[in-house]
């Protein structure tokens, strides 16, 4: 491989985000009261999460992943695979999978770098047949999620650090690497490579992409 193409996942390869993923878990809690409590709690917290996201992706993650507290590890795995089959596979941007195929044909290693959790990312990564994938891990104590992420957390500048180190470890020239993301929180990761691309960008990322002449892709 001559270089790598790094992909954010939520909003970049699939039209979902971490909140949708948790909603799936919340809806599938085995007890009715648990289901209602988790779903209602999520809905009530949405405005708060929006504000938290503006303060930074790391801050958002710290707050948001507390929702997973108490869910058993095996359930996380089972629901992760089920969620991909029933939900995420239908949310994939086919144009991005096409782009990944072309990118692979051109000799780029395909690497997912996502702030989503590993149990959700694994089935997607296997489906896409990527060369490597990196996601956040929920801390598990005595078989249950604590609601904390295992550091180092992949978010914002953390993703950029990770991409730099990974490229170095693989002997890739960062200038020749590509990165794809949809959110302003990924500007550090995009800035780390020589070929950044904004995919379905939010307003802040779009402005940055336009200012720096990064290609902007609208994927469906």
């Amino acid at each position: 491989m001559k270089a790598a193409a790094f992909y954010d996942v939520d909003g970049t390869l699939i039209s979902t985000n971490v909140v949708h993923a948790y909603a799936y878990y919340a809806r599938n809690v085995p007890t009715i009261t648990g289901k209602l409590a988790r779903t209602a709690g999520l809905v009530a917290s949405l405005p708060f999460y929006a504000v938290a996201d503006r303060k930074g992706r790391k801050f958002f993650n710290d707050i948001f992943y507390r929702n997973y507290r108490g869910i058993s590890e095996d359930r996380l795995h089972v629901l992760g695979e089920e969620m991909f089959e029933r939900y995420l596979s239908k949310k994939l941007f086919t144009e991005m999978t096409e782009l990944m195929k072309r990118s692979r044909d051109e000799g780029y290693a395909q690497v997912l770098v996502t702030g989503a959790i590993d149990v959700i990312t694994r089935p997607l990564a296997e489906y896409l047949g990527v060369d490597a994938w990196f996601a956040n891990k929920l801390e598990i104590v005595e078989g249950h999620a604590t609601g904390h992420l295992v550091p180092p957390v992949l978010a914002g500048p953390g993703k950029a650090d990770f991409v730099r180190k990974y490229a170095e470890s693989q002997g890739y020239n960062l200038q020749a690497c590509r990165a794809y993301a949809d959110s302003a929180s990924d500007i550090p990761m995009l800035s780390a490579v020589g070929r950044p691309v904004a995919v379905n960008p939010d307003a802040q990322l779009r402005a940055t992409a336009e200012a720096h002449d990064w290609p902007i892709i609208i994927a469906r």
Partner: protein, 536 residues
């Protein structure tokens, strides 16, 4: 103050500047400039518009029923057959023509005939080659609401030169040039091509062999080596035009393998209508009222922000009249169209000039609804205006071109994403077209640019290279290009050109360069367009 009495000359296309001559009006992007040419300078004007066909639908039907060297269209239609209609894209005419576009009229007649003969497996493909995909509204404006509503997007769509499943190789010419075309078109029982000729290099074998091909196929002739050997693009004679020669070879193979029914049309020079119609005529024929209208319009344009000026010009629809419709086999059809086309566009010119002056407008074939970026300024100067000749260039070998344009350092990024990188990175490394092959390959393999071409509205990633190669012959021939009124000197410099603040400064630079105190100056007064038949 009253204008000087216009000087009447015997040759309507040529005017020599004397003390009584009025200033000449040239385009300066989305504005105009008045130019006072030195006494003795020559101005070349296009021909007046030819009378358009009175009953266009009747002319189309006649062409379909009396084609050259083939059976009438109706005789080739059979129920159950697979029919593909390829259509020229929005790059012609410029500006887009007032509704109905001639392509709409032709399509309506063809589709009516298809319905009468029970043909319903019909796909219409916009033959964009490596141009950008036309948007839905643009297609609707071109083909009309009725056809659009009935066929778009499933049976009326843009050609995709990068679709791995949509291209097939039909073979190689005797000279080893590959021909790879749109699969649907190749697999059809009949391919009808609906063309619109604005300049003589449009149409003929270029239509199918280029319009429906892929990158590999087009790079057989769109390369630096071939484009060095074109003198000029507007001259279809093969010994003058290597590009036409290779395209004709590919086209001959297309005609051998596919059943193609060509419908070609051409239009007159009536580019400006309504309140701007005086721009179709030489200034010497303008009335005082015309001058007043011009002054008022131009003053308003100068006061507007650039974005607003662009909006104003993008609204312009040209009242072109159709002057010929022909149909049949590729070559005889194209020959007949060229006859009329040259009748309209050819202007006899005696002698070359030391200094060729031109004003570039806001538009080129590659920026409909977008900004004329620096690479397109380059191609309009050295690729188009320089090449609007047959026999000999208007400017002498090592002569000077003075071009009016503000040279905005701006790009419409969703249309021209790879242009940005070409302009900033590649031209910073080399301006030598023969040293760009590796970079072209790199661009051709860029998955992001390819994605933007296939799914967005971007030109193919290699398109800016073609634009640069397209300037090869002009670049080699011309000694110096000087831009008057560039916003930033760095833009002409990046193109390998020089800048002057005023026309007088540019003229002084030309005098120094040509080492002549009174160089022969010629203003090529376009648009409207013309082809100068230059006799030396």
């Amino acid at each position: 103050m009253a204008r000087p009495t216009p000087r009447i000359t015997r040759d309507p296309n040529i005017e020599f500047i004397d003390d009584k001559s009025s200033p000449k009006v040239v385009f300066y992007g989305t504005r105009f400039q008045e130019v006072n040419l030195p006494r003795g300078s020559r101005v070349i004007y296009p021909n007046a518009p030819m009378e358009p066909i009175g009953n266009l639908r009747a002319a189309v039907r006649y062409a379909l029923n009396h084609p050259h060297n083939t059976d009438p269209l109706f005789a080739q239609l059979k129920p159950g057959m697979k029919l593909t209609i390829a259509i020229d894209d929005i790059s012609m005419p410029l500006p887009p023509m007032v509704a109905p576009d001639v392509r709409q009229v032709v399509l309506e007649e063809v589709l009516k005939m298809c319905a009468d003969y029970g043909v319903d497996d019909i796909h219409m493909i916009i033959a964009i080659c490596l141009h950008r995909r036309m948007t839905g509204p643009e297609i609707k404006a071109m083909v009309g609401r009725q056809i659009y509503d009935q066929y778009y997007p499933d049976r009326l769509y843009n050609h995709d030169a990068e679709d791995p499943d949509g291209i097939v190789e039909i073979g190689e010419t005797k000279h080893g040039h590959k021909v790879r075309l749109n699969k649907r078109a190749v697999e059809s029982d009949l391919l009808v091509y609906v063309n619109l000729n604005l300049v003589p290099m449009n149409g003929g074998h270029k239509s199918v062999a280029v319009g429906l091909c892929d990158y590999k196929s087009v790079s057989e002739h769109h390369n630096s080596r071939t484009l060095h050997k074109c003198h000029s693009y507007m001259d279809p004679r093969e010994h003058k035009n290597q590009l036409a020669k290779i395209m004709n070879r590919q086209g001959a193979l297309v005609d051998e393998k596919l059943n193609v029914f060509h419908i070609e049309t051409t239009i007159n020079t009536r580019m400006f209508g309504g309140p701007l119609s005086f721009l179709n005529r030489p200034e010497r024929t303008w009335s005082e009222f015309d001058w007043a209208k011009f002054q008022a319009s131009n003053a308003a344009l100068w006061k507007m922000p650039e974005a607003m000026r662009r909006k104003v010009f993008e609204q312009i629809r040209a009242p072109y009249g159709v002057i010929a419709v022909e149909a049949g086999k590729t070559e005889p059809t194209h020959e007949k169209i060229l006859e009329t086309s040259f009748k309209q566009y050819a202007v006899p010119v005696k002698g070359q000039a030391d200094v060729l002056v031109m004003g570039l407008s806001f538009i080129s074939p590659y920026n409909v609804n977008a900004i004329l970026n620096p690479i397109l300024v380059q191609i309009m100067t050295l690729g188009y205006y320089f090449n609007f000749y047959r026999n000999n260039p208007i400017v002498r070998k090592d002569g000077v071109i003075i071009v009016f344009h503000p040279c905005h350092e701006e790009f419409t990024k969703d249309h021209h994403p790879s242009y940005v990188e070409f302009y900033h990175r590649i031209l910073g490394i080399t301006k030598d077209p023969d040293a760009m092959a590796d970079f072209e390959k790199e661009f051709a393999e860029n998955p992001d640019y390819i994605h933007m071409y296939r799914h967005g509205n971007a030109y193919h990633p290699v398109h800016p290279f073609y634009m640069w190669y397209w300037g090869n012959a002009g670049r080699e021939w011309t000694g110096k290009v000087i831009v008057v009124g560039a916003e930033h000197e760095r833009v002409p410099a990046q193109l390998g050109w020089e800048s002057a603040r005023t026309f007088e400064d540019a003229l002084e630079m030309a005098r120094t360069y040509t080492n002549k105190s009174q160089p022969e100056v010629t203003l090529f007064h376009a648009p409207p367009i013309m082809v100068a038949d230059v006799e030396v």
